[in-house]
Symmetry: C2
Subunit: 220 residues, 2 copies
């Protein structure tokens, strides 16, 4: 049995759900939504069915019955196998113990920030701050709801984590935007200069910009 690749956490979600009780795929997706797990695990219908197939193929879950309800499409109910239960615990243990390298898109954007000018960047970062604040408010509302209905904290830990991370980004972006705006950001004059020269005759001139940036772009 070839080892399954562990890159799609949706598979872990399926194992966790089937650990509780047998379900058919549509029921899994609805349960995940009810519990807001679709906020922490990328869920889409297409992927769910292929993930389920792949788990079956690797013997981690198996079909337990095929039922027809009226004239709706036949649905297949799956249950977890012993191998699947072991895999779920193993995988989860691994995820908690060992950080995996992620590639957030904002980090990529920061990598290429010199393509934009400092004034544009400040404007954009301030817009971002607004979104981040709304995001924090949203997550806190979710947490308040959960607390209000007496759900123990262990069941909304993922939201606590999310809000901590968004707050950290907020702090970072605030500092960055401020320091660029007030000129305390190191090298901001150089940065602005390049862009002013690159754009002063009409629109952006790729060649000139490229030339001007080149010496700074390659660490020796």
């Amino acid at each position: 049995m070839a080892a399954r690749s562990r890159n799609n956490p949706l598979a872990l979600a399926v194992l966790a759900l089937l650990w509780e009780r047998p379900m058919h795929p549509y029921e899994m997706s609805m349960t995940l939504r009810e519990r807001r797990k679709d906020e922490s695990v990328r869920l889409n219908f297409g992927s769910l069915y292929s993930v389920v197939d792949s788990l079956v193929k690797h013997g981690l879950i198996e079909a337990s019955s095929t039922e027809r309800d009226g004239n709706r499409p036949t649905r297949t109910v799956y249950r977890i196998t012993d191998a699947g239960a072991t895999e779920a615990i193993d995988w989860l243990t691994d995820l908690v113990r060992t950080p995996v390298k992620e590639f957030p898109q904002f980090e990529a954007a920061l990598s290429f920030l010199p393509l934009l000018g400092p004034d544009d960047v400040v404007r954009l970062l301030r817009l971002r701050l607004g979104s981040l604040e709304r995001q924090v408010a949203g997550i806190e509302a979710t947490l308040a709801d959960a607390a209000a209905m007496g759900l123990p904290a262990i069941f909304s830990l993922e939201s606590e984590y999310e809000v901590a991370m968004v707050r950290a980004e907020l702090a970072f972006v605030t500092t960055l935007a401020t320091s660029i705006a007030d000129g305390s950001f190191e090298g901001v004059e150089l940065w602005r200069d390049l862009h002013t020269r690159a754009t002063e005759h009409g629109r952006l001139d790729p060649d000139e910009l490229a030339e001007a940036l080149a010496p700074y772009l390659s660490p020796p």
Copy 2:
């Protein structure tokens, strides 16, 4: 011309590189590595070539020459088009202005944490702390190097961001591990109880665990 999907930042990296000067794919990958951009953008050879193909198909870059060097495989040098330059700026602007929802694996893991017992979790979180600390040290070393060779801060912003995020996770994990360990985490007795009962006769008993957890798992 169908609009390209903007989900792989490697495409943005290609546009940013070709903005500077024409290159062939292998050169792109080597340049990204030299500049440590492979820390912020997922880079692997297979993907690079298909991303390049897709950019060509959408008219954002184009082949500028095909050169053969001795008897090595023919390599194709690409350059950016006007449409490509516009797309790069647009895309980057978007990424800076608007946070995109990400799904970090650790968040997924936290979602399913009740599958593990609190004592195991504390042990695992402490191991995670070690990794996170090493990660911080690594990034700071990179930053120190960059500063030492006089690279302006604008070119290593992505590392500043990364370190800020890892530090935030460190803080979160520290607090969490401590509060579970010293019993101040809300509901930890309940959590431990469930697991003790579920595991006391030999190994994990999925059925009993499922039953015990069920009432807490579905918000009304």
